[in-house]
């Protein structure tokens, strides 16, 4: 039985190629640890070639996706227990991203952990973790998805506890373990709710059923709401959203490539879940509002903490939490395609930032900062604001931005406008030289063009993979958006006033609490210790 036949002329070949991506890496499970360790560098080299090959395969199946259309195939099983593959543009993009990061990470670990007697074990679990994430991206039903989800978490746990003699590593891993199991509970809840609601776990069947339910009106959508809320809870827990974020900055006790992979390839599984199931979640205003509010708050909250961090990796970790928050906000606004862009762009950026974090010393050796902080001349302030508005609107309009665009798109445009204003402000206030005006406008125009260009490209690319209808809007939603814009504005003003403001009584107190992450990490640590006892060496 093949419920969703594909257009592919060689469906079996295409399917085999897609399925081979995760399977090739999961094969590492078959290599016993002691053998992997005794092979050491050779095992690392082999894994590096395999992961590079898997990346090459991902490129091929992506091309196949565009030549032959999406792939929705039942591979085995029946009723609830079956294996489905769902390979559309979203899956293809994620597969390409994760195989790429995997190839880079495995290659990096080959030299980075050279000489470590446990290198083989490390590479083994690295491969299994990447393989589990790949399985997640091509899962065609929620049960398989949930299994891959848990497998990812458990194999990552093996990497986080790679150094059992480091008490802080063990504590952080346990903390993450507890949060993950909470997330698993949500996922099990979602599985039950989905079955109740749709009678199937197959994604394609679920989406069709959801369309029917929506068409029948509100009395049937209660289960849809419940399902959406549970899925959102699951995603927020996975993507380190407030107040469940504190494990992420504490996992720096693990080798750098794990951080890179975790921050680039694993943490955004929450976002992927939301986008994958956006045809369902977009039907629940409450779920979207929760995403938007928690996301926006996390973004700003973690951003403020990030500003106070003094170590490169912890700054990056808080930055990841913030970026994931922003991505959740995008989802909450119904901008799912942009959320995917954010996932991909952030992953590439953050993986590079982690892997090159040792360069920070030579970078600051060459860096330059203005001798004094910019002075707030009113004309400069007006000039930056005016230019930012003009550039954003002017170039945005070329890409179809208008006052009638959806509220979500306008909100994101406003955030970009603020960012541009900050860029121009820093440039123009650092010196009053005339040539900087032109350079600033050029820089701003370039950034705006890329921003809107990439946005519309992703909108077009993913149109078929995400919710194909606009979410319902009521005054509550507009209220939420207004609140979000005001929060962003407030943080922007706070940061541009930092040196003077942080000298006030309130500013000092805010600095201190912020630098401690508002104590959430310490509290979570104490809870973890109380639940699991002191790590013994």
């Amino acid at each position: 039985m093949n419920p969703m036949p594909t257009d592919s002329p060689y469906p079996l070949l295409h399917l085999a190629a897609v399925a081979a991506c995760p399977l090739a890496l999961l094969m590492a499970l078959l290599v016993p640890t002691h053998l992997a360790n005794s092979m050491g560098r050779r095992f690392a080299r082999l894994a590096s070639w395999v992961s590079l090959g898997v990346f090459g395969l991902a490129v091929l199946v992506l091309i196949g996706r565009f030549l032959a259309g999406p792939l929705m195939v039942k591979v085995a099983g029946d009723e609830a227990l079956r294996i489905d593959i769902y390979f559309d543009t979203l899956s293809a993009v994620m597969l390409l991203l994760v195989t790429f990061l995997g190839a880079v990470g495995v290659r990096y670990s080959g030299n980075y952990l050279a000489g470590d007697p446990q290198q083989g074990r490390f590479i083994r679990w690295l491969c299994v973790t990447i393989g589990s994430v790949l399985l997640l991206t091509i899962s065609g039903n929620l049960l398989l998805f949930a299994l891959a989800w848990v497998a990812t978490s458990l194999s990552l746990h093996k990497l986080l506890t790679f150094y059992p003699d480091r008490p802080m590593a063990m504590l952080a891993a346990r903390k993450k373990f507890l949060f993950s199991r909470l997330g698993d509970a949500c996922l099990v809840g979602a599985l039950v709710a989905t079955w109740q609601c749709f009678g199937t776990w197959n994604f394609a069947e679920m989406f069709t059923a959801a369309d029917t339910l929506r068409a029948h009106g509100s009395e049937h959508s209660a289960c849809l709401g419940w399902t959406s809320m549970l899925l959102v809870g699951c995603a927020l827990l996975k993507s380190a959203q407030f107040p469940f974020h504190s494990w992420l900055p504490d996992t720096m006790e693990t080798p750098t490539p794990v951080s890179a992979l975790m921050h680039a390839g694993i943490i955004n599984a929450g976002g992927f879940l939301v986008v994958r199931l956006s045809p369902i979640i977009a039907g629940s205003p409450a779920a979207l509002n929760a995403l938007a509010l928690v996301g926006a708050f996390t973004a700003l909250f973690a951003s403020m903490i990030m500003l106070t961090q003094t170590s490169v990796k912890r700054s990056l970790a808080y930055s990841t939490i913030a970026q994931m928050g922003f991505m959740m906000l995008q989802c909450g606004l119904g901008a799912f395609a942009l959320a995917v862009l954010h996932i991909v762009a952030h992953s590439l950026y953050k993986a590079h930032a982690f892997l090159s974090s040792g360069s920070i010393v030579s970078m600051t050796r060459a860096a330059w900062v203005p001798s004094e902080r910019p002075s707030a001349h009113p004309l400069i302030l007006l000039g930056t604001l005016g230019s930012a508005v003009a550039l954003t609107w002017g170039i945005g309009m070329l890409f179809g931005l208008s006052l009638t665009s959806s509220a979500g798109v306008l909100l994101l445009g406003a955030v970009f406008m603020m960012a541009l204003a900050y860029l121009l402000w820093n440039l123009w206030a650092s010196s009053h030289r005339g040539s900087l005006v032109g350079w600033g406008l050029l820089l701003g125009a370039g950034a705006a063009t890329i921003y809107f260009g990439v946005h519309s490209a992703f909108e077009t690319l993913l149109a078929s993979s995400v919710a194909n209808y606009a979410p319902v809007r009521s005054p509550i939603e507009y209220g939420v958006m207004a609140l979000v814009v005001m929060l962003f504005m407030a943080v922007l003003i706070l940061q541009s006033m930092l040196p003077s403001w942080s000298a006030t009584r309130l500013g000092r107190a805010f600095y201190v609490h912020s630098s401690q992450g508002f104590y959430l990490g310490t509290i979570a640590n104490r809870l973890t210790l109380a639940l699991t006892g002191k790590p013994t060496l």
Binding site: V104, G115, L307, L348, S356, V369, H513
Partner: protein, 831 residues
């Protein structure tokens, strides 16, 4: 000889504030400075305790730093089994021990003989005898199973990183202008973290602390109620619990004092640390805690494990000494009177030895010379487009000259517009960077630029771009005096510098047609410790600037003219060249080639081909240590790829293996294969009539080499405490240091990967064996003049030997400048 202070059991004597503070200052002096990563130079981690004999220091360190400063006996068992250490060495160790140990050590030594030493190897490693000093935090952890010691270190380290941060965080600690202790107090009055961790009413407790750091120390010590005699060691232990930041503070204290400013920040740091201990004691005092704290005073006795470890170390050193002296004795090279085609001056760095030997093997027409790689030029070098530069001289000196970098062969207009372009670029970069990192714009940055990191990631992971050297060649040092910014070197100063450099490197006659001044630097990627691989004599920077300044001075006709008045006749046809030895790849880059006269073009081509051959040979020699196949046809490419690989944790071995310093004519070592383990300084005592060069060598290069040697020693014997641990979890803090993982204290010393290859130690913990070819009485006279150098020798922080009669006789300097001949009938090759 100084013994451990006898224990004072009388605890009823009330603590006197003056004695407490004296102890606090004494403890602060024991902390070694830690340089920031921008110019990470080697430091002797024991620099504050060299007034003690080595073995007493081992005892002290064992009590204040978990793990001590000695190698485990396992290590020596391996050396004994493999035949590297033989029974003769054990005999020598015992007899050497009898010469230098006194008091209780000597008494314990009497019980030892060779059989017992060997038996000690097969004993199970005994757990530490447990007389280490405990902080209150550690004692609370012991009594209640808490994690306070880590939490206190973490809290203070975080505060220090906020206070000293150099541009990592965008939102800075508001109290940075206040003294360290005051700033800490301001933060601690608001910070609820200690209370969340379970230290009740900590903020109120901080509120009642005195305003003055010294008052906090005396107050805390009254609460802790420890006898004065134990105070200094207790304070030392406290500082060692936050040793990384203590080292950084000590670095700043040292910089300030070199500029005549006083700074008591380290005492303030001690006060901060004591405040936590006093607060913990106030909350947790009780019978459970008192079982652990304070450690009983009887504990202050010599620990039984120090002596056997020390004797095995002596045996190991004896084995190395045997081999080295054997090599130096048997290596007979004949002097040549011919004028060499090229004289090449390299840094004394142990890495130069391999390349020098390879270059001499490539052609007998090159004479190589070893000299400190800053070529006697204490300059501050200001890169193009900057206002301030870095000190390009050993950290023992302060720069006397400022030299600005300028564009080569450019008109003033071109220079001006290049300067403006650079400023504009920096402004744009700064704004772009704020776009990337601010709290709001970082989101839009990712949407805009994130995808561009894909190709970047691919390139860095699979095909890293070669380092660009264009800038180095486009610029050159500007020697002309400029009154406006106080840069440049005046003519008479140039003559003095030239004279000093030539005399001290022993290059005063028989000049070759080409004289190469070759500095060195490393080329690594994504390596926070990169500057640690650069030239120590140039203050942790690459030495090209000094070489180029030196060559420019020595090519200056006015300088040459003036030198004739001082009896140094540089022939018309001698041209000085500057070069840079890339220690990661062994390639040598030459500078200002277009200024080489046409008459010398063929000499230059010849030199370049010799350098090319030598570099290949040097890479082949280093290949096996790098885990590469020395016969591989693409070995050159593999070595070069390492220098650009961002995941490479062992791009080169730096100075690992260093164990000796030889100040002698090159003839003494030319025929010997010294394996890149020896610092080589040219020295000919016959032409050093006033002993000025000898004095210089013993107070500067020898001490710098000693610092490097002890840094490697300490990072090997106890990497956890004196090294910076595993590189794979390094996290750069405040852009000036690294911590492990999430945070905690700043790490000191070298990473594990710099001394260990995963299966074995690549560095061998041997103290520096210094060989000086000069009459004993002349060395003795220098020792008499410099108490700090004498201390290093007498207390065994380095081992000093004299070579006399053209390498025929070797003498060892025992404490008190007591020279004894080295037995020349010892077997020179082990097993």
């Amino acid at each position: 000889m100084n013994l451990i202070e006898s224990p004072t059991l009388n605890t009823t004597v009330p603590t006197s504030p003056a004695a407490t503070l004296e102890a606090a200052h004494a403890a602060c002096k024991r902390i070694a400075p830690l340089w920031p990563l921008q110019n990470f130079v080697a430091v002797n981690p024991f620099v504050g305790i060299t007034e003690r004999p080595f073995v007493d220091a081992c005892e002290l360190v064992r009590r204040v730093a978990p793990g001590g400063m000695q190698m485990p006996l396992d290590f020596y068992r391996g050396k004994y089994v493999s035949g590297e250490i033989i029974d003769v060495d054990l005999d020598s160790a015992l007899s050497q021990g009898r010469k230098i140990l006194h008091g209780p050590w000597a008494e314990s030594l009497e019980e030892f003989d060779v059989t017992m030493l060997k038996a000690a190897l097969s004993e199970k490693p005994s757990p530490s005898s447990g007389n280490g000093i405990l902080t209150v935090a550690e004692a609370v952890d012991g009594a209640h199973g808490t994690m306070w010691a880590a939490a206190v270190t973490e809290t203070i380290a975080q505060f220090c990183s906020e206070y000293f941060d150099a541009n990592q965080s965008a939102w800075r600690l508001p109290w940075r202008a206040l003294p360290l202790y005051t700033a800490w107090r301001e933060k601690a009055l608001i910070n609820a973290n200690a209370e969340v961790l379970g230290l009740r009413h900590f903020r109120q407790w901080v509120k009642m602390l005195p305003d003055d750091a010294e008052a906090v120390i005396t107050y805390a010590m009254q609460k802790l109620d420890l006898p004065d005699a134990d105070a200094a060691d207790f304070f030392h232990r406290q500082l060692m619990s936050i040793r990384g930041w203590a080292g950084h503070v000590q670095y700043r204290v040292r910089e300030n004092s070199m500029h005549g400013r006083s700074d008591d920040a380290l005492v303030q740091l001690l006060a901060i640390r004591l405040a936590y201990d006093a607060a913990l004691l106030a909350q947790f005092d009780g019978p459970a805690l008192r079982e652990f704290w304070p450690a009983t005073s009887e504990a202050v006795i010599e620990s039984p494990e120090v002596l056997p470890h020390f004797l095995w170390q002596l045996a190991h050193e004896n084995a190395w000494q045997r081999q080295l002296i054997g090599k130096l004795r048997s290596a007979k090279a004949t002097p040549s009177q011919e004028r060499p085609a090229v004289q090449a001056v390299f840094c004394i760095d142990v890495r130069s030895e391999i390349l020098r030997r390879a270059l001499e093997a490539a052609t007998p027409k090159v004479e190589t010379i070893g000299f400190a790689g800053f070529f006697g030029l204490p300059i501050e070098y200001i890169p193009f487009g900057k206002h301030h530069g870095s000190s390009q001289c050993p950290v023992l000196l302060t720069p006397s000259f400022r030299v600005r970098e300028t564009l080569r062969k450019a008109t003033p207009d071109a220079i001006d517009s290049a300067w403006k372009r650079q400023r504009l670029g920096k402004r744009l970069k700064y704004s772009w960077n704020s776009f990337k990192t601010s709290a709001i714009s970082c989101f839009s940055f990712v949407d805009t630029m994130g995808l561009a990191f894909g190709p970047k990631l691919f390139r860095d992971a699979f095909a890293p771009a070669p380092e660009k050297h264009a800038h180095r060649h486009a610029c050159r040092p500007q020697l002309d005096k400029s009154a406006a910014d106080m840069t440049g070197i005046a003519s008479d100063e140039r003559v003095q510098l030239a004279l000093g450099a030539l005399r001290n490197m022993g290059l005063t006659k028989n000049f070759a047609r080409l004289v190469l001044l070759c500095g060195h630097g490393s080329e690594t990627s994504n390596n926070p410790y990169g500057s640690g691989l650069d030239c120590g004599a140039c203050g942790g920077h690459a030495g090209d600037a000094n070489a180029r300044v030196g060559a420019a001075i020595l090519n200056d006709p006015a300088v040459r003219n003036a030198l004739t008045g001082h009896g140094i006749q540089i022939p018309e046809d001698t041209h000085f060249l500057a070069g840079l030895h890339n220690t990661t790849t062994d390639d040598v880059t030459l500078f200002e080639l277009d200024e080489v006269p046409a008459t010398h073009h063929s000499d230059l081509a010849q030199l370049q081909s010799w350098l090319f051959t030598a570099a290949r040979a040097a890479r082949r020699e280093r290949a096996s240590q790098l885990g590469l196949d020395s016969a591989a046809p693409d070995l050159d490419r593999q070595v070069q790829a390492r220098s650009r690989d961002w995941a490479q944790v062992r791009p080169e071995w730096g100075l690992a293996g260093n164990a000796a310093f030889l100040a002698a004519p090159r003839l003494r070592s030319k025929a010997a294969h010294l394996g890149g383990r020896v610092f080589l300084h040219n020295y000919d005592h016959r032409s050093d009539k006033e002993d000025s060069t000898l004095e210089l060598i013993m107070v500067a290069p020898m001490v710098v080499a000693n610092w490097i040697n002890l840094q490697y020693y300490a990072s090997t014997v106890n990497n956890r405490v004196f090294g910076s641990g595993d590189k794979v979890t390094h996290n750069v803090v405040g852009t000036l240091g690294v911590c492990q993982g999430n945070g905690g204290d700043l790490q000191t010393g070298l990473p594990l990967q710099s001394v260990h290859d995963g299966t074995k130690w690549v560095h061998e913990p041997l103290r520096l064996h210094v060989f000086i070819e000069a009459p004993r009485e002349r060395i003795t006279a220098i020792l008499a003049k410099h108490a700090n150098v004498r201390q290093l020798v007498d207390n065994g922080w380095l081992l000093l030997f004299a070579i006399e009669d053209e390498g025929q006789h070797f003498f060892r300097c025992q404490p008190g400048a007591n020279w004894e001949p080295v037995d020349d009938h010892l077997p020179s090759i082990a097993g």
